[in-house]
Amino acid sequence: MPELRTEEMTINMGPQHPSTHGVLRVELVLDGEIVVDAIPHIGYLHRCFEKHSESMNDYQQVIPYVDRMDYVAAMSNELGYAIAVERMLEIEVPERVEYIRVIMAELQRIASHLLAIGTYGLDIGAFTPFLHCFRDRERILEIFESACGARLLYNYIWVGGLSHDVPSNFKDKVRDFINYFPPKIKGYNDLLTYNKIFIDRTADVGVLPPEVALNYAASGPVLRGSGVDWDLRRNDPYSIYDRFEFDVVVGKGEMGTVGDCWDRYIVRVREMEQSVRIIEQAVEQMPDEGDVKAAVPKRIRPPEAEIYARTETPRGELGYYIISDGSMSPFRVKGRSPCFVNLSVLPAISRGSMIADIVAIIGSIDIVLGEIDR
């Protein structure tokens, strides 16, 4: 029989594709269903956040822009930026503000992880968990809405404080949520996490060994999924995270190899449980009285300095590198985006897998294009 002539096929996945979580374009080189190479192309959502920041008249005005970076975890972005500027100004924020910030950031982490695991189920082909996650995420958004009027882009955490005080029933609402939520996690586990097909699709797929994860400077659940015990909330505490007891969840390779898609997924599920723990403690300790705007400066004019402040957002280490020239507007604001760094591991871990695995891998990295492209 004569040898059949075969060749590789190059195919574009995205920017309009249901599973690239936005406008990511992945150039796939395929040999049948096997992926020979996967090259991510970014930039379709570039909105010049960093350049915009330089022309703001006030440091406070940058906050709506950082909201729009990681638009599914806006609170965490604001928190990182506020902390960076506060360190430059060397101001102490009131106790009550710190507690509200932590509660908000952890609620945001739960909301963001809910979206991540929900859409991950969708990527694998299970539609129902996605909507169950949205149902529960809705409750968090309601709490946010009652606090600041917005559901996604809050402009809530300001430099030195908050834009509004929380409503009087805030604690009750949060307590309601932390009572309501843990049983639902069990529901997700029954429906998706321990489903045989789901495990087959995600275990041993897209294995990211710990040393590769470190070489690529991955962070957040992607790094912890590879078994590296690193969480800025504990390793480099900011705000008041050192006052709370919580475990850092790492992937253990329960269903396959350490660092596979299932590990990255389960890290997110278990982190939600830990976030609930933090919120429980924070609600108990939170003082009832206090002016949340007491420390908000009238004019922000930091000394000539530069600073890098990092926080643990739901997606990993979000750093802000801010240079001040002593004027009212920042000279340079750079965001160190966890998604951008995490996405860079994609080619390394997807060679030799199948098309369906690419979808699983992209989903398990949990990227938000708004943050990658900024």
């Binding site: 129902t128 097909i197 699709r201």
Partner: protein, 339 residues
């Protein structure tokens, strides 16, 4: 049945056409209903309501409105596609699915064609769907479509083997390929149904149901059109009513495998209570109800399970279903010999 019609109609040809069109009376309303039901079932599983406005009561006319919308849509044919194949594929798909209804005994009085090889005919004619999907994928001139079409052909060709072997177990037990005869053999109460007549036929039914899920491209085997990977698989370039035809085929196929399942294992048009509620018209009722039950199970599975990967799909078929099906066939035959 044709003879009865001939008495009332002026021309024998008209009687034949009417006779041939009769399953449409069930298939079209069924598709409209099933799409609505799918939306409702998925909605209630997902803690939401689904369509509620169109037509009043629980959005009952949503699919009718959708169909009117689809008919009105612009008929887009990609400029660099193979135009004839592209336009023809959806109709071929539906033809394949519809032709199979000819040998389904809807009631003790109505069967499209009294074929002695009914079961064989169904298995043969449903394979046409593969051809049309391949045609659609190739003609679209789109890499995603092509990938989807390739997957489909591999999947359907593979899963035909366990389906055929499972059907063959019934044939071994009954000794006939005529679906009407198989139905008549199950007359009586629920215990006369084939699934209870032989323990190994129960296994055959499970095999049949699993592989028929793959045959009609339903979750967890919905790889051909897996929207989260291949955008829309072979349907990517289709829109409007041509896409609607594929949808129609998918639901018609679901009905077909469900009806065939109930004919082969669950007593066809026979009432489960013996003489109670039995008769030609009740027959249609029982047949459609049994079919709808399996369709509901398919929907239930679809909104619960994730999707397999293409290699796992082949593993399930060649490493598990086919060996089990063959061993089971031997066991069915042994049981029939011994008892």
């Amino acid at each position: 049945m044709v003879e009865t019609l001939e008495q009332f109609l002026p021309h024998p040809l008209l009687a034949i056409i009417m006779h041939a069109a009769l399953p449409m009376v069930i298939v079209f309303p069924y598709v409209l209903f099933a799409v609505w039901l799918e939306r409702k079932v998925s909605a209630h599983m997902q803690d939401r309501l689904g369509p509620m406005r169109t037509g009043g009561w629980h959005g009952w006319s949503q699919t009718i409105a959708d169909m009117i919308k689809m008919i009105q849509k612009e008929d887009i044919v990609p400029s660099r596609s193979d135009k004839f194949l592209f336009k023809f594929a959806p109709f071929l798909a539906f033809m394949g699915a519809y032709a199979a209804f000819a040998v389904i005994p809807f009631s003790s009085e109505y069967i499209g064609a009294h074929l002695d090889v009914g079961a064989f005919y169904i298995l043969a004619v449903t394979s046409v769907v593969t051809l049309s999907i391949l045609m659609a994928g190739w003609a679209s001139n789109n890499k995603w479509s092509l990938l989807g079409a390739m997957r489909t052909s591999a999947q359907i060709v593979s899963y035909e083997v366990p389906t055929v072997v499972a059907v063959l177990s019934v044939i071994v037990a009954t000794g006939t390929l005529n679906l009407m005869t198989i139905s008549e053999m199950q007359t009586g109460t629920i215990f006369n149904w084939l699934i209870f007549s032989n323990p190994f036929l129960l296994i055959a039914f499970v095999l049949y149901f699993i592989s028929s899920l793959a045959e009609v491209n339903r979750t967890p085997f919905d790889l051909p059109e897996s929207e989260s990977e291949l955008v829309g698989g072979f349907q990517t370039e289709y829109s409007g009513m041509r896409w609607g035809m594929f949808m129609l085929t998918e639901y018609a196929d679901m009905l077909l495998v469900s009806l065939l399942g109930s004919v082969l294992f669950f007593g066809a048009w026979n009432s489960p209570f013996g003489d109670f509620m039995s008769g030609p018209v009740w027959g249609v009722f029982w047949m459609v109800s049994k079919g709808m039950f399996f369709i509901f199970v398919m929907m239930w599975l679809r909104w619960t399970l994730p999707r397999l990967r293409v290699d796992q799909l082949m593993d399930v078929c060649w490493k598990y279903l086919i060996p089990i099906a063959f061993i089971n066939l031997v066991l069915v035959a042994l049981w029939e010999m011994l008892f």
